[in-house]
């Protein structure tokens, strides 16, 4: 099948990458799991980090799965207990895996914990072990394989755009069809497609966008997979805003996926591969600062130092790279505003993307940038620390609870009465959009930089989706 931009179709799974995950290490021998301890000795979750947990429970109310189900084993404290059990020799039973898998990785618990427990490191180490030692049922495996054969690859994502809806894609194997993988993926792809602007509006970014006026910084920009393919307007706005604020923006052509989805799902080797390529791409560009506009990508790029710590050729470079990564709002706040703002007379609700607020601690900067815009009224959403249920690919893997979380978030958003919802992650936008639509709430959607861009240029906020 031929894509409307003239691209040849992509052969989707399964023979290509993963190269890691459960398949790479072979199935767990049948009949032995009861005696086999959960974790091997290669980077299991750290006993010392687990020991930091004082069992106070302060993390429970911010955990989306605890708020949904009210049970200990689906809370951060309970999951840490399970990791401890695993270290003490308990087997990696289906039940145990189910509770690790149910974790959205939203890191709200890291923010909430007064003892400084590094749950992020714990769950990442655990997920790698799960991928290595646990055999998931065939349907689930196929679904995961499909996701990881699709999302991190721009050209494949592009192939899914336009009139080519998931159901029509023909490169899929029979197994995928039988396992209803597409039924699961379809709503997500459909949501992306519904929100994405029509194809012809796709703005192609040059490799270099020069600073307007006096140059204050030279930055590299990550375009991202989903952001780049489905929300290109966000990238264009990012480049314009950065340029308006005095940045020379370099956009390396040969950049791929940053590996966020892989790292958040324990697919270590795949993640490392993506990370190395990303470091290479930006080193070639020779920039001191790398700017990201997708929260999930930014948070995983800031963790490259840990991810590549065991690779002598990359460890040091990865650490340098990680230190250079900034979320776009973070960088703009650091630089300080110079470009004049035009009024935007709108009430705006700002939604904290978990990977920005919890994983990167960036909460104040986007709000401050929005407040600088004359006429704009900022409204806070109740329970801001609770995840909307998107969480990378969690909503594809766990559609029902994700819908419930999305609906809760949509209700609190509707309660603000705002005209425009602003956030910094494509996943959140898609997730919340479908809940809002289901609920019949009419509200515009936009990325933070799109609002800044509109204000700087003195044009109406174009935004995405419903009020297009």
């Amino acid at each position: 099948m031929v894509h409307s931009t003239g691209e040849t179709r992509q052969q989707l799974p399964p023979e290509e990458p993963p190269g890691t995950g459960a398949q790479a290490h072979g199935p767990v021998p049948v009949g032995t799991p009861a005696v086999r301890p959960a974790f091997d000795t290669e980077h299991p979750p750290s006993a010392a980090l687990i020991g930091d947990c004082v069992h106070c429970g302060f993390c429970l109310p911010t955990c989306p799965t605890y708020t949904l189900w009210g049970e200990e084993m689906d809370s951060p404290r309970g999951r840490i207990d399970l990791m401890k059990a695993g270290l003490e020799g308990a087997p990696l039973s289906d039940t145990m895996v189910q509770h690790f898998d149910a974790c959205l990785g939203c890191m709200a618990c890291v923010t909430a914990c007064p003892s400084g427990v590094q749950y992020d490191e714990l769950i990442e180490a655990t997920r790698v072990q799960v991928e290595r030692h646990h055999q998931r049922p065939a349907g689930q495996r196929a679904l995961r394989a499909a996701i990881f054969a699709l999302f991190p690859y721009k050209r494949r994502l592009r192939a899914m755009r336009g009139p080519l809806r998931a159901y029509q894609a023909s490169g899929l194997s029979g197994m995928l069809r039988r396992s209803k993988v597409l039924d699961r993926l379809a709503p997500t792809l459909a949501a992306m497609e519904a929100l994405a602007p029509p194809l012809e509006r796709r703005e192609k970014l040059p490799e270099r966008v020069p600073a307007v006026g006096q140059r204050r910084a030279v930055v590299g920009m990550l375009t991202g997979c989903v952001q780049g393919e489905f929300f290109p307007a966000v990238n264009a706005a990012t480049a314009r805003v950065l340029a308006a604020e005095g940045c020379d923006v370099l956009i390396p052509r040969r950049q791929g996926c940053c590996g966020a989805l892989s790292v958040h799902n324990g697919r270590q080797e795949e993640a490392e591969r993506f990370a190395r390529a990303t470091v290479d791409a930006f080193e070639r560009a020779g920039v001191q600062t790398v700017v990201v506009n997708a929260a999930g990508c930014g948070s995983s790029m800031k963790e490259y130092a840990d991810l590549l710590a065991d690779d002598p050729a990359y460890a040091e470079r990865a650490a340098r790279f990680a230190a250079s990564v900034r979320d776009v709002s973070e960088l703009l706040a650091e630089l300080g505003t110079v470009a004049p703002r035009h009024p935007v007379d709108m009430t705006v609700a700002y939604h904290d993307a978990c990977h920005l607020a919890h994983a990167q601690g960036v909460r104040a900067q986007p709000r401050a940038l929005l407040r600088e815009i004359p006429g704009l009224q900022l409204r806070e959403i109740a329970d801001p620390e609770i995840c909307c249920g998107s969480a990378g690919i969690w909503n594809v893997l766990n559609p029902e609870p994700a819908r419930e979380l999305g609906d809760r978030k949509a209700r609190t958003i509707a309660d603000t009465g705002a005209e425009l919802l602003v956030t910094a992650n494509p996943g959140c936008l898609m997730q919340v959009a479908s809940s809002l639509e289901r609920q019949g709430t009419r509200i515009g959607l936009a990325h933070t930089v799109e609002v800044l861009d509109a204000s700087i240029r003195g044009i109406p906020v174009r935004g995405l989706g419903i009020q297009r």
């Binding site: 930091d52 069992h55 429970g57 809370s75």
Partner: protein
């Protein structure tokens, strides 16, 4: 008492060589398997599938509360959603002589919700609906699993809040608060949970559903509600609470005051209260506690302070204005070197953050620690603090002090490093000696964290055998078979026959004609 880092230490004379599993407090896993199976069948019949847990992996996550030293895996966990479901499970327990333990959010610091290996853990975390807000009556009717702070959040829009505010308020449950008679910084002025619970629905240890108290301010007859509040889950399980809502004050002023020593800060506290001012809160932290809080939340407390007071005044604006001037004067007169009033909500939040995160923050300056909880008459504060300092210097064990100075509720944090041989033992001794200090000064072994399993052995230090026997009579009246949270609150199961078996003889006091069984 809470010990960080999952160490094996605790205060109190619990013998270190007897694992909790083997004590009478926790039960024997093998004795009741038939009973457990029977209760499990009933539970599966009345509860949703996800409401009954028996997978060992899942059970394991319920093995301890906020006092992680004591760990026992329960035989069965149930998560009822309604009073009827909960009562059905309790009835089944009663029918089969299976002990049960209630659990709210599992933040208790005395092991009150420690499960029984031969029993059922009844968790209320799915009973979390605020059933009714009666603003005009200043009442709310809530289920036991409702989080303390959720009550306040639900009513602040209407100008009210729920006053008792344990530091754990964002997660502890109203049922747990009721069972522990929990308090918080603002209980100095507004009283403990017992002053704010006006009624409760209780599932008795026989599985009957009874109403205690109600919406009206007083109910005639014995104050059974008062008996149940603070009973630590030993008299049944609360399935509803009617709580009082308090009007949000017109004005709140928060003041952070730096002193050179805890003596000065203590004297200022006594002067303020002695003058008839009742602040909403007076909290004290000493130098070591300040260091911990700084490390954790960068609260920017006055540099070089030997102690700080966090003082909050609330009420009508004119009254607050007047009291504020006096408080400032008393502090200055007693050697305050810095007075820093919060100028906005963010500053107030930061001042409180330093105080409220102090327990968990101590983990940043010491690998392990014990949170002690004791009460003394406020006037004994300087003397007791000096004695604690002496204990600390003679034993070489560091003690940080964080406490509700206004009502003399001490929370000494005894620091140690379990990796050093003997350090845990030394810390236990200091911690125990602090409790003795409290008792000797006319105080009590717990201000708000409860007795649970942790301090049960201390009860005889405060009470005579006759006292304890009399308390047991109350317990027997509610729970003759001793199946409701057995092994907690009292040192050893006494009277009522063997726990959890049936009562065999009349109580000795009854036999002697000195008391009557209810």
């Amino acid at each position: 008492m809470s010990v960080t880092h999952g160490t094996t230490t605790t205060a109190g004379p619990v013998p270190g060589d007897t694992p909790p599993e083997a004590t009478s407090a926790t039960g024997d896993a093998h004795r009741h398997s038939a009973g457990i199976e029977a209760v499990g069948r009933v539970a599966r019949a009345v509860l949703p599938v996800t409401g009954v847990l028996s997978d060992p992996t899942q059970l394991r996550t319920y093995e301890c509360d906020g006092l992680a030293h004591y760990r026992v895996t329960p035989a069965l966990v149930v998560l009822p959603e309604t009073t009827e479901q909960l009562a059905a499970v309790v009835r089944a327990c009663a029918a089969h002589g299976v002990p049960f333990v209630a659990r709210g959010s599992g933040t208790g610091l005395s092991g009150g919700a420690l499960p029984r290996a031969d029993g059922v853990l009844v968790v209320t975390s799915r009973m979390r609906t605020i059933r009714e807000v009666r603003r005009a009556d200043q009442r709310a009717v809530v289920e036991p699993g409702v989080i303390n702070l959720a009550v306040t959040r639900a009513v602040t829009g209407e100008g009210y809040y729920y006053a008792p505010d344990p530091s754990s308020q964002q997660i502890c449950s109203i049922g747990g608060n009721l069972a522990e008679n929990s308090g918080g910084a603002h209980c100095l002025k507004y009283g403990f949970t017992s002053n704010h619970v006006l009624g409760a629905e209780l599932v008795t240890p026989q599985g009957d559903v009874v109403a205690l108290g109600g919406l009206a301010p007083d109910s005639p007859g014995y104050d059974l509600l008062g008996t149940v509040v603070g009973s630590e889950g030993t008299l049944g399980i609360a399935t509803t609470a009617v709580v009082r809502l308090v009007r949000l004050p017109e004005e709140v002023r928060t003041l952070l005051v730096g002193f050179r020593s805890t003596d000065d800060a203590g004297a200022a506290t006594s002067a303020i209260i002695g003058a008839g001012i009742v602040p909403a809160a007076i909290e004290m932290m000493d130098a070591l506690a300040i260091e911990a809080a700084e490390a954790a939340v960068h609260c920017d407390y006055p540099a070089g302070a030997g102690a700080v007071l966090v003082i909050e005044l609330d009420g009508a604006a004119v009254e607050v204005e007047h009291e504020y001037a006096q408080v400032e004067r008393f502090c200055t007169e007693h050697g305050a070197f810095e007075l820093r009033p919060a100028t906005d909500a963010a500053e107030r939040a930061l001042i409180w953050k330093g105080r409220k995160s102090a327990f968990a923050a101590v983990g940043r300056i010491s690998p392990d620690y014990i949170v002690q909880d004791g009460v003394i008459p406020r006037t004994a504060l300087p003397e007791v603090l000096r004695a604690i300092a002496e204990l600390s210097s003679s034993s070489g064990v560091r003690v940080a002090n964080v406490f509700h100075a206004g009502d003399g509720n001490l929370h000494p944090l005894v620091l140690f490093d379990d990796a050093q041989p003997g350090a845990g033992k030394a810390a236990e001794q200091v911690s125990g000696a602090i409790l003795d200090l409290c008792i000797n000064h006319g105080g009590s072994i717990t201000g708000e964290h409860g007795v649970g399993v942790d301090k049960a052995a201390y009860m005889p230090r405060m009470f005579s055998d006759d006292d304890l026997d009399t308390m047991q009579l109350v317990r027997c009246a509610f729970d003759p078979d001793g199946i409701s949270n057995p092994g907690k609150l009292f040192p050893t199961p006494r009277l009522c026959g063997e726990v959890p078996g049936k009562r065999k003889h009349a109580h000795p006091l009854v036999e002697a004609g000195l008391a009557d069984a209810f």
